[in-house]
């Protein structure tokens, strides 16, 4: 099982000091957090993508490429990549490039984005969110698997004899997760392709997650990718820890009370009861997290949200120390002991290469000037 963190990349005032970090500080803090994730033994760092203040990560592959250069093992991912407003051609190119630079340490999570005004900035309409996600991903899926693509759709200019470069590393496209909180259509999409499904699992009651995962598993089996319990499931989670649980509650409360998402609404106690948020000791986090398995089954990836709502970098790094040193080693052991042998681990580049029967160089070497097609013999 993989453990990691995902970040929204918000610039938020620290409610305890009134200080708001600059964009530059926040961007550097995100990098420091990613490096720390590797240092404390986590597997995954995933960044959000946003195109409006107060968020900074508008250019995920730039940031992930930089982190890739400064890490050795960390898997770089997204939470989420906007499959609605980004051009699927550019996603194919950018993430294939990142895949080469990071030697395969990359996967992606597709999401629609729920901020209405963002869509028209990119020439799109939020009311077509689902159809955009379906059509764009179908094109992206082909661009990584077919050297030469002829394509015509509703939301993008047609492609004739188009080759997306670079071709995926070793002939194996990055693994893809699809994230959605409450759209059954996206669970269906993930199931159809045999891709992973990620339930955000923060900010909302666990019942949403339970229902979506159950649907995804059922449809995954329906489309013949394996049994329902072999579907590839990821969950989010949100925690704040101190050795003494009272200290955790006292320290986190002002950040909770003023958080952009749920601040000035329910109490910390109500929200902890109604959603998977856990504020307490490392042991409480371990117990609660192990409990997730009881309503979604054995799953492959657990990401935690650690750095939002204005928490200072120093605090976040302390949280990562606790997560990496005290929580994740126990979770790794416990989850592994519970997982039946026929339930697969989360796909990695290495496992996908093995599944594909070995690495192939998929470089497209030449293009015929007249037909625009690559000669058969030159594609390998």
């Amino acid at each position: 099982m993989q453990f990691g963190i995902f970040t929204v990349g918000d610039v938020t005032v620290d409610p305890t000091t009134g200080r708001e970090p600059t964009e530059h500080e926040r961007i550097k803090a995100m990098v420091a957090i990613a490096l720390k994730a590797e240092e404390v033994g986590l597997d995954v760092f995933a960044t959000g993508e946003h195109h409006n203040p107060p968020f900074v990560p508008s250019s995920p592959t730039t940031m992930l490429g930089y982190i890739a250069a400064r890490t050795e093992r960390l898997l770089l991912s997204t939470a989420t990549t906007l499959i609605t407003t980004n051009d699927p051609v550019k996603i194919a190119e950018d993430y294939a490039m990142l895949q080469h630079l990071s030697d395969g340490r990359v996967d992606l999570m597709m999401g629609r984005g729920n901020t209405g005004p963002v869509y028209p900035w990119f020439g799109k309409d939020i009311r077509a969110g689902i159809p955009l996600a379906i059509e764009n991903y179908d094109l992206l899926h082909r661009l990584w698997r077919e050297d030469v693509v002829d394509w015509k759709g509703k939301y993008r200019t047609p492609l004739q004899s188009f080759t997306s470069t670079p071709r995926p590393l070793d002939g194996v496209p990055p693994f893809v997760w699809h994230g959605s909180i409450r759209s059954p259509e996206i669970a269906e999409q993930a199931a159809y392709y045999g891709d992973g499904f990620f339930a955000n699992h923060i900010f909302w009651p666990k019942e949403h997650t339970q229902r979506m995962i159950a649907l995804y598993r059922q449809r995954y089996a329906h489309y013949g990718h394996g049994s329902a319990d072999q579907a590839i499931v990821g969950l989010g989670g949100q925690v704040f820890m101190r050795r003494n649980s009272q200290d955790a509650v006292r320290e986190f409360r002002p950040y909770f009370d003023n958080a952009p998402v749920y601040g000035h609404g329910p109490s910390l106690e109500e929200f902890t009861r109604e959603t998977p948020l856990t504020v307490g000791s490392p042991q409480q986090v371990i117990d609660r997290t192990l409990g997730f398995r009881e309503y979604v089954g054995d799953y492959q990836r657990q990401l935690f949200l650690m750095d939002h709502a204005g928490l200072p970098l120093k605090t976040v790094l302390e949280q990562l120390d606790l997560l990496g040193e005290e929580v994740v080693p126990v979770l790794r052991k416990e989850f592994a002991a519970l997982r039946p042998a026929h339930v697969p681990a989360a796909p990695t580049h290495a496992s996908l290469v093995v599944a594909a029967g070995g690495a192939t160089d998929s470089t497209v070497h030449a293009v015929d000037d007249v037909t625009g097609k690559a000669p058969e013999g030159a594609t390998r």
Partner: protein
């Protein structure tokens, strides 16, 4: 014997509340009418006051806390709704509107609804027609023609005696008519149900039935 559920929502804020009193009378009259016609009736009365914080939290977080979720499922899964609000500043009160704001906009389609209101003076009575009825029109509910407004004089033994009672009876009869025209409700819609399959979404063929 047909089994029917009737949800009653009162947005009265004081206790005791004349809004709740009107809601109870409308509920009893409707129940009696349905029973007289041979149905078995289950009444669910909701005082929104008890869920006021949850309603606001729902607006802020995007999800209903468990207790409110139960109420929403009851209201959206009932055969008929009686909705009663006090008139504040020439319209429904904020609590009444906020509750209907957090419902899924599709969840009350074709639902028989009887609307009622209370106010400090009979001059507020048309708020039912210019505020409450249009809100349910937006939700595409079926609001019965008779809306019931109760002013202070309606509760006393004055000249209006009997008029309110007759109006309640007429409205209850209309609501019972609408309920009886429909098959028994099957409970709230499942927001996580898959209603299409992938090939249909992709626009390739008709897809297949989803189990």
């Amino acid at each position: 014997m047909t089994r029917r559920t009737l949800a009653v929502v009162s947005a009265g804020l004081s206790q005791p509340s004349s809004t709740r009193l009107l809601a109870d009378q409308l509920a009893a009259a409707t129940r009696d009418e349905l029973v007289r016609r041979g149905s078995e009736v289950e009444l669910h009365v909701v005082d929104l006051r008890e869920y006021a914080h949850d309603v606001v939290n729902n607006m802020l977080t995007g999800f209903a806390p468990a207790a409110l979720r139960e109420v929403i499922d009851t209201v959206t899964g009932a055969d008929g709704l009686i909705a009663v609000t006090p008139i504040f500043s020439a319209s429904y009160n904020g609590l009444f509107k906020s509750f209907f704001d957090v419902l899924d906009s599709e969840s009350m389609v074709d639902r028989p609804v009887l609307i009622g209101a209370t106010g400090g003076t009979a001059r507020h009575s048309l708020a039912l027609e210019h505020a409450v009825r249009p809100m349910f029109a937006y939700l595409r509910s079926v609001v019965v023609p008779t809306a019931v407004f109760a002013a202070p004089e309606d509760w006393s033994d004055g000249t209006a005696d009997g008029a309110l009672r007759a109006r309640i009876r007429r409205a209850a009869g209309e609501l019972a008519d609408q309920i009886e025209r429909r098959p028994p409700a099957t409970g709230p819609a499942d927001p996580f149900a898959l209603t299409t399959d992938f090939l249909q979404m992709l626009g390739r063929g008709d897809g297949e039935a989803v189990s």
